[in-house]
Symmetry: C2
Subunit: 455 residues, 2 copies
């Protein structure tokens, strides 16, 4: 008898899973059906700021695989279909057709929950007004573009200076808006320590973005159901459009309603093969918890690269193969104005929360040999366990050749390396790409000296 | 009593050693004297092609630390002084003052041999003519510049397509010469496999360099003691100047003459602390053998980054500290015309010579997310042990964000990782820097499939 795999959410995790399962099992063995309340499949959510900023032309440019391409591989896709409930005992779903307004029941043998994440919106007056946009799905991106096209937008306010917030602030600047970024914390880019975040704030201000820190949103000003300003402790900032860049939370209502266990991070608890605690129900992507290999805890890190990997792992397993997802070390990179910004592992507050006794080391080096034209500075900050010298985390900011350098540190973390071992690594050297001591080696060497000095 | 450290050769290895020893021991405890037959200290030999090409203005720009700066730290430096013999029993050196023409004997308690490498010159008629230049020391670079300035140079021939040969070919192009590169092997850049070297040859030809492969030098044509052409099996190429880019060999005559043991590679045998087999005699840099962590053999790899590290290790030990140099994995990078080229570990012939049963995997990916403007292709080739899936080597060629990606693979090699573990690594992702599956992960994943298929 043909088994039925139902995929809830047709972006990276869900469709990677579907593709891998299909590679291993033919349609007579496994029927695959995906539902999504949006209009797209398999797209790059990380590309949305570039779409809004005009760097990328069309929403379809961000689509890696269209519904038609999936269907051609015997993966049925229903867009504008929202799954509103799961009954894990009866193995059924309630599905609402958003076009028709009708509801129906669908059965499944195997279920993949890949419902992603939802943008966090401050719970303040006016939060439901038009012109306030979260940035999570490609439909969100399209809505923002439509909104910008529908009327003149002179003033944009971005609430929250996370990755998306910062990238969207730059995108709005590219749309010729006056941009204000409101960050509740000491500095934007709170995935980095404040001293590194300050460099990001400086770069944004240099670009002409009005970055205001320590300012939370108290209310949205609304006229005719449309946002006109954002009120903070310091007054009201006029706004023709508001972008939410505070962050996202895992979209787990559906799973929670079905009694599927969540982890300590609030995301769906999964094992190494991406199984939830309910037999035959799997989860992957932003809605699923990840195991952090440095802190040894469950974390929620919404990122396309994890979603793709996890979906693949689930799909291989559902397809009858064997694959595991070992976990993450918290690597992320971003281009912010003229800066490359990257991080991996644990920043200071995370080291502290995890209970590590640690020290920090900061070095400034050059992106090329000092004498090579175009050499600019790069800053690297390491967190290191004090007693062992083991690397706990790294943050890099520079103008070129910076972001991808985090990979070396991410692998060092992955393998539990100490700065003593790291400072001897055989990293590449050539004057256009690095000084003779690569910045990563300089940072490790300095950290080693700090450890030895017991500082 | 004050001990006396004599350093033979005042570039990276020698002066890193001197500096580290001085940091740990004051001048009353340790006198430090360096001799060099050239005119410079502590310079970037890797920068010479950029000096000749006019990318860097002055020879002094390549000097990291001048003789005066060393002297200010109580490190005596004698330039234009060649050490012609070592007597390890009597603890003396014969030193020739090249300006005065005089010779004297100098004593030492501790000796650092950092004599570097010498360019290989084909042993053919005319090899001693003027206008034929090796590229190893900054004096060589200065001589080439003087030669180019002294008369019109329309036609340059580069003999040998190693890193330096290729970089020098580009430099001569920047000097507006017609450039021919003669490579005896199937393809230039023989530190890579021929299929990857072919991409380098293509890029050079696109730039207008006449790359001729399978052509060895049979003679240099000479008129009035000056080179006028290079004769190969296919005829004679006219040349106003000839650059030797075949490679270098460790400069070990002095050590060999003193009875200091060499390793199997022909470079000076050293232990992890950079001690030669003679008590109190140390060696570091291009003249010293390195331990290759993948092939587990002694190798000769002339590279500034190793020289700096080894000199530092020797200096810490001479200074009374403890430091070791664990070895290398053969990482190297270069900018070739519009390409970034990098390698680490063992290429096919090296895998074979070491006795590995291996397979190769090649993938082509993009340097950024496919939809991101400016995305170009990148090629990664892996060599992998067939049975275990352990990474043995990697080669990368691309237009941007390529060279430094080799570091991730170099660390994977260093830690003996398998492609199974590697394909799950938490590498950074952002559309301007990488597709959602980083090319390194794509390569590892493909190699894993190849291993599993037993191909």
């Amino acid at each position: 008898m043909t088994e039925r795999l139902v995929v809830v959410g047709s972006d990276a995790a869900g469709m990677s899973c579907a593709s891998q399962a299909r590679r291993r099992r033919g349609r007579d063995d496994l029927a695959i059906v995906a539902f999504d309340k949006g209009n797209y499949t398999s797209y790059s959510a990380c590309g949305i700021p570039y779409l809004v900023g005009g760097v990328v032309d069309e929403p379809d440019d961000l689509v890696a695989r269209s519904p038609e391409e999936h269907r051609a591989r015997d993966i049925e896709v229903y867009l504008r279909h929202e799954v509103t409930a799961i009954d894990v005992d009866r193995r059924t779903l309630t599905v609402r057709d958003l076009e028709e307004g009708s509801e129906r029941t669908e059965g499944f043998d195997t279920l993949m929950i890949s419902t992603g994440a939802v943008p966090v919106c401050p719970d303040v007056p006016g939060a439901g007004a038009r012109g306030i946009h979260g940035v999570q799905t490609l439909d969100d991106g399209k809505r923002i573009l439509d909104d910008l096209a529908s009327r003149p937008v002179r003033r944009a306010v971005v609430v929250g200076g996370g990755y998306i917030g910062i990238e969207m602030a730059e995108a709005m600047l590219q749309q010729s808006a006056e941009v204000t970024l409101l960050e509740m914390a000491e500095q934007p880019m709170t995935t980095m320590d404040p001293d590194m975040g300050a460099l990001v704030a400086d770069a944004m201000r240099d670009m002409g973005i009005d970055v205001r820190t320590g300012e939370g949103v108290e209310a949205f000003e609304v006229e005719d159901d449309r946002v006109t300003g954002v009120t903070t402790s310091s007054g009201t900032v006029p706004a023709d459009v508001v972008i939410l860049g505070i962050g996202v939370r895992p979209n787990v209502e559906l799973a929670e309603g079905a009694g599927i266990a969540l982890g300590r991070s609030g995301a769906i608890a999964v094992d190494r093969r991406m199984r939830t605690q309910v037999e035959g129900v799997w989860a992957a992507g932003d809605c699923a918890e990840k195991f952090h290999l440095v802190s040894r805890t469950g974390v929620s890190i919404p990122l396309g690269t994890h979603a793709n990997k996890e979906g693949r792992v689930a799909g291989i397993n559902i397809g009858g193969g064997y694959e595991t997802f070992p976990g993450v070390v918290g690597t992320a990179a971003s281009k912010v104005c003229n800066l490359e910004v990257a991080r991996t592992g644990l920043k200071e507050t995370e080291c502290r929360a995890t209970g590590f006794d640690f020290l920090t080391t900061i070095v400034e080096s050059t992106t090329r040999a000092g004498y090579f034209p175009g050499a600019t500075t790069m800053k690297i900050k390491l967190t290191v366990e004090r007693r062992s010298g083991r690397l706990l985390g790294a943050q890099i900011i520079g103008r070129e050749n910076a972001a991808k350098r985090i990979d070396a540190l991410a692998i060092a973390l992955w393998k539990g390396m100490s700065v003593d071992e790291m400072h001897q690594l055989d990293l590449s050297y050539a004057p256009p790409f690095a000084p003779v001591w690569d910045p990563v080696l300089i940072a490790a060497r300095k950290a080693l000296e700090d450890v030895q000095r017991g500082s």
